[in-house]
Amino acid sequence: MSQKNTFKTFIGDIPKNLFSGFVVSLIALPLGLGLALASGAPPISGIIAAIVGGTVVAILGGSNVTITGPGNGLVVVILAAITTLGTGADGIIDMSQGFLYTLAAIVISGIIMIALGFLRLGSLGDFFPSSAIQGMLAAIGIGIFAKQIHVMLGNLEANGSIIELLVQIPEGILNFVNTDNSSVLYAGLVGVISLLIMIFYSKIRNRSFQLIPAPMWIVVLSVGMYSYFELFSTAPYPIEKNLLIELSDDILSKFAFPDFGKIYELSFINAVISITLIASIESLLSIKAVDKLDPLKRRSNVNKDIKALGLATVISGFLGGLNVVTVIARSSVNVNNKGSNRSANFFHAGFLVLFILLFASELKKIPLPALAAILVYTGYKLASLENLKKVFRVGSEQLIIFLMTLLVTISTSLITGILVGIIITFILHVIINKNILLFVKNILKPNVLMFTEDGKYYVSVKNFSSFLNFTKLKSKLNQIPETEEAIVDFSLCDFVDHSVMENMSNYAEAFARKGGDFEVIGLDDSKSGSEHPFALRKILPKQMIPKKGVLTKRQKNIQKISEEMHYAYDAFSAIEMEELPQFGYFKTRKIDKVSNVLSNDNCTIFDVQFSEGEMIAKQVIKATMFHIHTQREVPNFTLDKEGIFEYLYHFAGFKDINLERHPDFSKRFYLLGKNEAKIRTFFTDELILFLESNKQYHIEASKVGLLIFSNERLASVKEIKALAYFGASLRKIIEKC
């Protein structure tokens, strides 16, 4: 694609990006105001963050369809920062002074983000176990919910820790119902109606209604209500001024400026760390999630994006705005409205400037409870029971991690919460494996090998694979173009955790989207607590074979193709265990088990685990093979690619049988056997033609039939299909002769 062409597409796409930017700005406006208010900051600070974010990240960012602005996750952190930093020596909280100190923390966190981007540590989030992150997000949701539900009911005075606020909810509802203050009652009613709009918006399937996003409906309706009282009603507007948004008249000329006075204090440093942590985790999760939505299937440059977000945060902080992060909800709206490149983000910022300039006085008519309702809904979404169920389905140990992180975060602070989450995850991994050495000894060692073999990317992982060392695996996997075929082999791994399994499934999805193939092998012998594809897996020693285990994705896929090909699927087979040792190949190898067996009347395809050598020299090998039970007698022979001698030594002493009539075949294949005459008659022209025109497998014949396999490792589902097809065709030809 030439430069000019790219530019042309860009210009051509501008109209639809203009539109989607407009729709996004309709949400960003109320959300920006609401998030800022919930953070205890001046409402305009949220809009500033969205405007600066939209401009800077659109120009310098590395992602394509993301929208940037103030984030949900930061509400709790910023609120905590403003309150702690604003607390004077006398214990009195000065919110506006606290906000200036917090702005300084925001600026510094922006600088740290830029540094992280340059150090390529944008993927900070990878070092956290995913259930702990889920727990932390749920805790943030509960935090937002607990505070905002009081505001929604017209009570601005509710204060205290998250738990205290939660306890006060029933009382707050009772107070609201029994209130004699008409201002509070009306404000609360607006709040409750707004919440109902948020909840039922998606259920109303009406085109023209859906044109305006739910948060904007709330704004439009509340402004409309104000106008009604102003223009038509004789009664005064029932909601008092303290329950309306406060915006100064000269918004774009008077900016708050950060106060760096507390920069060396511990509480300040604490605030910087939490802000940076949440900002980078939230952005990263959003970028990853939005990449899955991108209709053009592009891959975002995470580090570049983090740098741009950092810079935007610094600028926003200096102008009196909140942090800039990538936000998932607004980005999805962007994609749904056909946003296709970064200009949508830019236009969304532009429309926000326009709104503020044109409608500043209208915005002042919005009651706070209306905005609080939007946040109550957001908080509920973050902490919904649905998420809890999802985590539980993965496994009960994940639920423990999730709940512990959640509870600790709510009752202490975010940093303590996530640390506890990490520690608990690690302890659980140690308990599940009953082995701490596995982790301690191998954590710093490299454990991933990647190489290309027959045009396929083969990745082998050793020791263990969990959130602790996932970056090593990730950096390798990121080097594989998603249009290629990749095989990830965990058979040398003793333990694979939930975070890794979840990521594997994400990779598989990404490869599938772009036409590649991504498969995970080597986990079929593992034990897992639940049916969920993301459940952690511990590889079992061979003696303990669960007769009824939980099937891995590969096993399920094999089952699926067995139905397609009309083969019967069994997890294990006893017959093969008896017959296989009769093949020369297994003379020196001890078979441990045969599993994942596909069979029809006289063909079977299976995974076999066997060992070579004894004691420490013992090596356990797993491979996929095809066995044909031939009806007619077949002479003993082995057939192999010329030049591969590994499988042949048990036939030592025999010479390569050259078939004079087929010099090409003799050149490419190595044929060994005792009874030369019989073998010569067995290899008919048709059989030779078939063998010549197909992939070269290792084929071995004995009195129990033919054994076919290619590599001495487990085959991916795709390879199994190829092998099965080859085997079936070969059988037909042999039976015919």
């Binding site: 070579e612 420490i616 001698f645």
Partner: protein, 277 residues
């Protein structure tokens, strides 16, 4: 490595003395070399009888067997004998017990590989009955020592009748100069990798031109990954029987704390390892 005329084997009267000795004898016969056994410790009649009994059970040696009995520190004695006797190959067998294997490999063998003036063969699976060597993996690093190492690998495969050699070119990440960030950089890095792979294959081909390898099948495999680590992991995945490596350039104290190159292999011996000096 020059032609192997003298092979030194350490004799410890441990349960696997027999297999160690058998392997050494086999090796000496294959190379038509003289075998020297060193025992660090006292010379007693009992030990002597045990040793000669074992030697009688083993296949007959082509050349004479010489035993050296000396007291002192294991490492010092073996190193001194190596220089004194102008030994070409030092064979170290690992004990067949997992914990001890780690201990042994971890300490004595590591010091010996580091300091020995001759090539060192570390065996993790000495066997009384001969196990045929089927696949040799050898490093193809961009290093002056590599030519010699590859030649030794071919020399070994000829003497051991091994028919398959894979030369692994490890390319460290820093040589790529491209970080994969998005689709564009990914494409770029794939192209650069292809180019490096071709360059490496060419380099190896030039080395191979000097070698006469008739009936041995030779493959090259380039791996982009941590140097020294990847080849060990590869040898394990491919279940090679012998891994042939360059001698380490220079091991400083810091390399032991942050292991690199050969240290990875020494710490977890994926298979038998030959370090060529």
């Amino acid at each position: 490595m020059n032609t192997i005329n003298k092979i030194l084997v350490g004799i410890a009267f441990s349960p696997n003395l027999k297999s160690n000795l058998f392997e050494a004898v086999r090796m000496a016969n294959m190379f038509d070399a003289q075998l020297i056994g060193v025992h660090v410790g006292e010379e007693t009649d009992k030990k002597k009888v045990q040793l000669s009994d074992l030697l009688e059970q083993a296949e007959p040696l082509k050349n004479s067997f010489k035993t050296i009995w000396q007291k002192g520190k294991t490492v010092d004695v073996i190193l001194k004998t190596c220089t004194h006797e102008a030994v070409d190959l030092l064979i170290l067998g690992a004990l067949q017990q997992e914990k001890l294997l780690k201990y042994y490999v971890g300490s004595i063998a590591r010091v010996l590989t580091r300091k020995a003036t001759c090539s060192v063969l570390l065996m993790i699976k000495p066997s009384v009955v001969r196990v045929v060597c089927k696949h040799i993996v050898v490093n193809g690093l961009h290093n002056d020592k590599t030519i010699k190492t590859i030649k030794s690998a071919f020399d070994f495969s000829k003497h051991l009748h091994c028919k398959k050699i894979t030369i692994v070119e490890e390319v460290s990440k820093s040589e790529l100069h491209v970080e994969v960030n998005d689709d564009r950089t990914l494409r770029k890095s794939t192209i650069v990798k292809e180019r490096i792979k071709n360059r490496e294959d060419m380099r190896i081909k030039n080395i191979l031109n000097e070698i006469n390898y008739e009936d041995i099948s030779v493959n090259t495999q380039s791996i982009f990954g941590r140097r020294g680590y990847s080849i060990g992991h590869y040898a394990k995945v491919k279940r090679a029987d012998l891994l042939v490596m360059n001698a380490p350039d220079k091991i400083r104290f810091i390399d032991r704390i942050f292991p690199h190159d050969i240290e990875y292999i020494l710490s977890e011996l994926p298979t038998d390892v030959l370090i060529v000096k």
